[in-house]
């Protein structure tokens, strides 16, 4: 047990494999003769073991599969961009700066002309299309256009 104060701070580094060869030798030598530090190290190992088990708890392949389905959906926008952009780029004639600029400006002008035509009339911020409820329901709008659906629940 002699010299525990010197070795206790090194135990975590020992467990984590962050000590130098000399430090490892010194700690191991001390551990041979010190039940208190052995117990300390054992507790640190147990903590690691139960933490690992707890984090893996309930993790099943099926759940991760579900997540992958969603991830694939999340990746859709870039692939769509690729799908649209790459074939279009391949169809374009070789890059000519002036011609590209001219086409670009012409397209922009067309877009600026089209946008006001296709923009629809402003619609309310929220439109409630349907409601099904066990309890009576009232729907109303505040002065600033805030839509509220109110449920008249009898009991909690």
């Amino acid at each position: 047990m002699h010299g525990c104060a010197r070795f206790t701070p090194l135990l975590e580094g020992y467990l984590d494999g962050e000590l130098s060869a000399e430090q490892i030798d010194a700690v191991e030598e001390h551990l041979w003769s010190c039940p208190r530090c052995q117990k300390e190290l054992e507790e640190l190992c147990t903590l690691r073991k139960i933490l690992r088990e707890a984090m893996e708890e309930g993790l099943v392949n099926e759940q991760l599969q579900v997540a992958w389905d969603r991830i694939t959906e999340g990746l859709t926008p870039p692939t769509l961009k690729e799908r649209i952009w790459w074939p279009v780029r391949n169809l374009l004639p070789p890059f000519r700066p002036l011609r590209t600029l001219a086409w670009g400006l012409a397209l922009l002008a067309i877009l600026l002309f089209i946008i006001p035509l296709v923009t629809t009339a402003p619609s309310p911020p929220v439109e409630v299309e349907s409601i099904e409820s066990e309890h009576p329901v009232m729907i109303f709008q505040g002065e600033e256009g805030m839509t509220v659906i109110w449920l008249f629940e009898a009991e909690e």
Binding site: P77, E132, S133
Partner: protein, 148 residues
């Protein structure tokens, strides 16, 4: 200049096959669960943006923010959140199109659907569902949608 042509083309495409492009886009849904009651007074800091609207619409003296969640949904995706003991909120993103979002909101009690609504929100829009009784007051859910 190549970039300019690229943006012009993308702009044009975004006008033509809109439903195709819209599919798969993420929408950020925000849910705030508020307890409105006559116990005490004041509005929690997290509700400042809708404080005036709450005061105009209802006459409760206290608005306490119980829970705030925001998450991303893509078309067809469902998210369920616990509201209070025994009550859950389920949201489904039906579609996202031309700056607006169609969602289905359900309230479940002990797993049974007690309320369902289908609503179309403009991105940035908020709507409220209120009335379920809770701890001497009522719950008000503020649901909002924004583009990703």
């Amino acid at each position: 200049m190549k970039k300019l042509a690229f943006f012009a083309l993308v702009g044009l495409f975004s006008l033509l096959p809109y439903p195709l492009l819209a599919h798969g886009e993420e929408v950020k849904i925000g849910v705030r669960v508020v307890l409105a009651s006559h116990k005490g007074s004041g509005v929690d800091n997290g509700l400042q943006d809708i404080q005036r609207k709450l005061n105009d619409l209802f006459n409760y003296s206290s608005y306490r923010l119980l829970q705030e969640r925001s998450f991303f949904l893509t078309q067809g995706q469902v998210k369920q959140l616990p509201l209070t003991k025994g009550r859950d909120l389920r949201l489904k993103l039906l579609r996202e199109r031309k700056g607006s979002v169609e969602i289905i909101v359900k309230i479940l009690r002990e797993g049974k659907e007690i309320f369902k609504t289908k609503a179309k929100l403009k991105k940035g829009g908020v709507f409220l569902i209120g009335g379920p009784k809770h701890k001497g007051g009522v719950l008000v859910l503020a649901i909002s949608a924004q583009g990703a």
